[in-house]
């Protein structure tokens, strides 16, 4: 039973990269383009991991994390947020909203897999 | 709609299997085994590389293309693609072919262009060793010689290998138009 990952990013390049890297590692990947889109894509289905960008139109990543944590279904799902080395306040906000960890952009595929393995083996 | 037509008695179906994408397979005597589709125009027999042949159709009316050389018979709708049909007999300076239902159009693909040649009849699929293909005679002014890249003998018949790319090169079409 493949683990299911929801990847949320408004950049198609990043979505493709995350999707390619994780599908290659045997995950089933669902994609969404922003926070609002992510919620409608999820629609109550269970996932094993969420990876979300922060800076997105239509509902940013922080807000998405908050929304997910409010929902009993996703309370214990690991959530990784994509941050940049230059903006630490994002980490703080993510943490406060209930995110599990973060990955610093830009990352290479191996790095992504390594971090994902930490929270969702 | 005529699918590949008569196949001669010396045709060896086992050879088909060894044809690779580049239309050649190594023969025991060295050289490559290649296949051609041969056809008749008047009393002469010509052939083209089988890999270039897309399909073979019976003659059907084509739409005339105005202000083009005489050998451009017109254009045909091939499943939504506009394909020009060239009259080979006329191309070789022997006048227009008088078409009947028995005449045949061989649809060829050269790189990404598709075109058809109008011939009298398709005769054979020839399988030969490249060693057996003789170089074309030195160029003379006879118009058809320009388009022949080699000669081969098949059961006592002389078959000329056509160089399709040259046949429909735009430059030569334009030259022909000017000659007219």
């Amino acid at each position: 039973m493949a683990k299911k990952v929801l990847a949320v990013d408004d950049s198609k390049t990043m979505r493709d990269m995350v999707s390619f890297t994780l599908s290659g590692a045997g995950f089933e990947v669902i994609l969404a383009e922003d926070g609002a889109h992510a919620l409608s894509v999820l629609n109550g289905q269970s996932v094993d991991l969420v990876i979300t960008d922060v800076n997105m139109p239509n509902m940013n990543g922080i807000e998405l994390v908050g929304k997910l944590r409010e929902n009993p279904l996703y309370k214990t799902v690991p959530i990784l947020i994509l941050t940049t080395e230059s903006d630490d306040s994002i980490k703080g906000q993510g943490r406060a909203a209930g995110a599990t960890g973060w990955i610093v952009k830009p990352f290479v595929p191996d790095k992504l897999l390594k971090v994902v393995a930490k929270v969702c083996p | 709609m005529v699918e590949t037509s008569s196949i001669s008695s010396d045709f060896d179906p086992r050879k088909i299997g060894v044809i690779q994408d580049d239309n050649s397979s190594v023969d025991a005597d060295g050289g490559d085994i290649v296949q051609f589709v041969s056809f008749k125009v008047g009393d002469s027999e010509y052939c083209v590389d089988i890999m270039a042949v897309r399909e073979i159709k019976g003659w059907a009316e084509v739409t005339d293309l105005p202000n083009t050389p005489e050998f451009v018979r017109g254009v045909l709708n091939l499943r939504g693609i506009i394909v020009p049909i060239f009259d080979l007999r006329c191309r070789f300076g022997q006048g227009l072919t008088e078409c009947t239902a028995l005449h045949v159009m061989i649809i060829l693909q050269v790189e990404d262009r598709i075109m058809g040649i109008l011939v009298d009849a398709v005769s054979d699929i020839i399988t030969v060793n490249t060693n057996e293909i003789l170089p074309a005679p030195t160029l003379d002014k006879k118009s058809e010689q320009k388009f022949i890249s080699g000669l081969m003998t098949v059961q006592e018949r002389m078959v000329a290998l056509l160089e399709i790319e040259k046949l429909f090169d735009l430059e030569t079409i334009v030259e022909a138009a000017i000659e007219e």
């Binding site: 408004d10 950049s11 390049t13 990043m14 493709d16 990269m17 922003d34 609002a36 889109h37 800076n55 139109p57 940013n60 922080i62 807000e63 908050g66 929304k67 409010e70 690991p78 940049t84 230059s86 903006d87 630490d88 306040s89 980490k91 703080g92 906000q93 943490r95 406060a96 209930g98 960890g101 990955i103 610093v104 952009k105 830009p106 990352f107 290479v108 790095k111 971090v115 930490k118 083996p121 | 739409t63 005339d64 293309l65 105005p66 202000n67 254009v75 091939l78 939504g80 693609i81 506009i82 394909v83 020009p84 693909q109 990404d112 262009r113 598709i114 735009l170 079409i173 334009v174 138009a177």
Partner: protein, 797 residues
């Protein structure tokens, strides 16, 4: 294009990345223009930031170092503008424009796999740095020595410092807190990860587990002690606890082999601040006075909770981003996400405005406190990306259905079937559905011309700089939609015409002032739909066409006879004559030979027209009209002898049966017809296309009056009209070449090929065209070459 790298596993993503860059940078151009015009909306600044941010992320993923370095600082500057610590002014806008240009080039370098020149962009980078540091901008041209070195190394894979060879023994005490679980972390995974580093002895202290009835499921009652014998470094162990370091009590002690403690170390949160990943701690579970927690007293962004928690801080983050931004419900909002296929359901292309009422940085919430509901009015535009090949296949299929349907319809007519039968009405109904299907499929391929328009400001900036001219480019109607194929074909002609306006149309600032005009010239680029076509206008307020000079040049070049007298309009149109160029000297902007004639030819080959209106001293206005799609057109099928041709309805003015006395014959044998006092040249298709068995008596013919470009009218002589229909345009050039007087081909209901007339070509043709055939063939067929229309051929396979 991207060099095809078969061995590059990321090739496909790079293609996506560059497509995305093009889209983002296209938007960027218009964002910056809005910014320049005084719109300092926070949402706009966010959108601008996001463009650079997204490009940076991709660049990092593919290790485009130069792009990463540049975007890194560019983004930093934008971030400062975004958070309000810097205010947008004209100087900054200029730098943003310049930096954007550099970014466009950097993307191109990377796309083409080209070496980026070493100093490239250094000057803009220096300007960015100067702005960030609040210094004055460096002199133009003066390259700061340290420009390159001002770029901080961007972290990729960090090399692990302090990897000691040889095995060590660490003793680790690990006691999770409830917050660890609230962040969805899992001790078991951490223990597993730890055991992967070496030989692990685990002992569990479960003495804290209470009686079942008082046990709280969300609490943790375990404490583990590990003894790890490993060759891994201390950094590696820290990394294991990366995500939980603040959600637990943790002590890591290194022992030597005798078990003696060699150094006590507790995890220092601040060590982790610049690591590639990390984890979060809940503030409600702050470590009290444990020696194990190392707190750096940093302000936190959280305004609701106590400030007594040490928070990771970036080395260079001197300030903390303001957590809340003003959330103006009425503010314009910009879509920074890409909607590649914007298919409006209706023809009225409404630019969809996404109302995002989310502040970019909401007040952080703790996990347990519900986020306050904010009123949202998000008008969602859901879209998908579709490979254009799929759409093209669909378009082709619909084309085939149209043809098959008209075949059935004509078959039905032949059968003399009563139209009232269900078969008849079925065919009728089907025809409506097919038409609708076709419209919808074509709509999928419609794109706003914005993607081309957005490239023009850059050209204007570059060229005006070279020419020392001041100019403002105004674009209008950039959301006007045309078929994708048309959009792609527009770039070259527009570029050329804009350059032409800059080069020949606009005067230098001095000349303008002398002429009583403002120093800054104006170029208007606009698009609009008009009568089923798109009309693009390029107008300038420059000097207009220099008619005496144009005429002189034309005579010099033999374009017109020495003795010929031309109207102003005719003179203006000479600039489209082949080989015409009025440049005083051969500049790199408008070299000889490539002129407006090429533009006109390109536009004509798309079934379009180009015209010019000019007024000396006031300016010139060029107008392109193009079909909205290159795939279908409404045509009038006409019969000439045994042949049929299609005349595009758009060109048709009227059809008339000529009176004998209205037809006159000129000396060279050309016939003209007098219509409402004007003589109009007749094009006798019978002669032009050497059609057999056609009606030779002109008075028994029909004349179709058509309008060609340059406001020319000609009369096309035909035997009969066979009816109107929408036809699917098929390329003749894909497998053959250009044919004089023929624009393209289509397939009629009976499956036969029918040629579509090239009205402008016929108007250009000399009446005695026979002698010109060879010459025309040579010039046209060879110049057009064989355009490979692969998609059309593939569809048939």
């Amino acid at each position: 294009m991207l060099p095809s790298m078969q061995d590059d596993p990321f090739y496909q993503f790079k293609v996506t990345f560059f497509e995305e860059c093009d889209e983002l940078l296209g938007n960027m151009e218009s964002y910056l223009t809005d910014l320049e015009e005084g719109d300092h909306d926070s949402e706009l600044l966010n959108a601008i930031f996001r463009v650079v941010h997204s490009i940076k992320a991709g660049a990092g993923a593919f290790s485009f170092e130069r792009m990463v370095n540049f975007t890194h600082r560019f983004e930093f500057l934008l971030d400062k503008l975004r958070d309000g610590s810097m205010t947008v002014d004209d100087t900054i806008v200029r730098v943003l424009f310049d930096s954007n240009d550099v970014l466009v080039d950097l993307v191109d370098f990377a796309r083409n796999g080209a070496e980026t020149p070493r100093e490239f962009g250094a000057h803009e980078l220096a300007k960015i740095e100067a702005l960030i540091n609040g210094e004055s901008l460096p002199e133009e041209g003066a390259l700061p020595a340290a420009a390159g070195s001002a770029v901080p190394e961007v972290e990729g894979e960090k090399s692990k410092a302090g990897t000691d060879a040889g095995s060590k023994v660490f003793e680790i005490d690990f006691s999770p807190k409830p917050s660890l679980f609230q962040h969805a972390n899992e001790p078991l995974l951490i223990i597993r990860e730890l055991s992967g580093l070496g030989d692990l002895k685990v002992s569990l202290d479960s003495s804290m587990i209470p009686e079942l009835h008082v046990m709280e499921p969300e609490k943790s009652y375990f404490t583990w002690t590990f003894e790890l014998n490993t060759e891994a470094s201390r950094d590696d162990i820290d990394e294991v606890f990366e995500f939980v370091v603040d959600d637990c009590d943790l002590t890591i002690v290194e022992k030597d082999c005798t078990g003696k403690i060699t150094g006590v170390d507790v995890t220092a949160a601040s060590d982790l601040g610049d690591d590639d990943f990390g984890f979060f701690v809940n503030e409600e579970d702050l470590p009290g006075n444990q020696a194990s927690s190392n707190q750096s007293a940093e302000p936190t962004v959280d305004q609701e909770d106590d400030d007594d928690f040490g928070f990771f801080v970036d080395v260079d983050a001197g300030e903390v981003e303001a957590g809340v931004q003003t959330n103006d419900e009425n503010s314009k909002s910009y879509k920074a996400d890409s909607l590649p296929v914007e298919a409006p359901a209706s023809s009225e292309a409404t630019a969809s405005v996404k109302q995002s009422s989310m502040p970019q940085a909401p007040v952080p919430q703790t996990a347990n406190a519900p986020v306050a509901e904010k009123p949202t009015s998000v008008a969602k535009v859901s879209s998908i990306r579709v490979d254009i090949d799929r759409v093209d296949k669909l378009v082709n299929m619909v084309g085939e259905i149209v043809i098959t349907h008209s075949m059935l319809a004509s078959e039905l007519t032949v059968l003399q079937e009563d139209r009232q039968t269900s078969l008849g009405s079925g065919i009728e109904e089907m025809s409506m559905h097919i038409r609708e299907l076709q419209d919808n499929v074509m709509a999928i391929r419609m794109q706003p011309v914005k993607s081309v328009f957005s490239r023009m400001p850059r050209i204007v900036r570059d060229v005006s700089k070279k020419l020392d001219k001041k100019v403002k480019l105004v674009t209008e109607g950039e959301n006007t939609e045309v078929d994708k194929t048309v959009v792609e074909e527009l770039a070259d002609p527009l570029t050329h015409m804009i350059r032409n306006s800059l080069d020949h149309g606009l005067e230098t600032p001095d000349e303008r002032i002398a002429a009583g005009k403002p120093a800054e010239g104006k170029i208007l680029l606009s698009a609009e739909h008009r009568g089923g076509r798109i009309v693009i206008t390029i107008a300038d307020d420059g000097r207009g066409i220099n008619r005496p000079k144009v005429l002189e040049l034309a005579k010099e070049k033999g374009v017109v006879e020495e003795s010929q007298v031309l109207s102003d309009e005719e003179i203006d149109n000479l600039i489209f004559a082949p080989g015409f160029s009025t440049a005083d000297e051969v500049t790199d902007l408008s070299g000889r030979g490539v002129g407006m004639d090429v533009v006109r030819r390109n536009i004509q080959s798309l079934g379009g027209r180009v015209s010019v209106v000019s007024e000396p001293g006031v300016g010139s206005r060029f107008q392109l009209t193009l079909p909205l799609t290159l795939a279908v057109l409404d045509g009038m099928v006409v019969g000439v002898g045994e042949q049929k041709f299609v005349i595009p309805i758009n060109n048709i003015i009227e059809t008339l049966r000529p009176e004998k006395e209205a037809i006159k014959t000129l000396v060279d044998g050309t016939h003209v017809i007098k219509v409402r006092g004007e003589y109009i040249r007749l094009v006798e298709t019978r002669k032009t296309f050497s059609v057999l068995n056609a009606e030779t008596d002109l008075s028994k013919n029909l004349v179709v009056l058509v309008e060609a470009d340059g406001d020319r009218t000609i009369g096309i002589v035909v035997d009969k009209l066979s009816g109107q229909q929408q036809v699917v345009i098929k390329s003749l050039e894909a497998n053959f070449g250009r044919v004089e007087g023929i624009a393209s081909a289509t397939i009629l209901g009976n499956g036969s090929v029918c040629l579509i007339l090239d009205i402008d070509g016929l108007a250009d043709m000399d009446s005695s065209n026979q002698s010109d055939t060879a010459h025309y063939l040579k010039s046209n067929m060879l110049s057009s070459g064989i355009s490979s229309d692969v998609s059309e051929n593939e569809a048939a396979q």
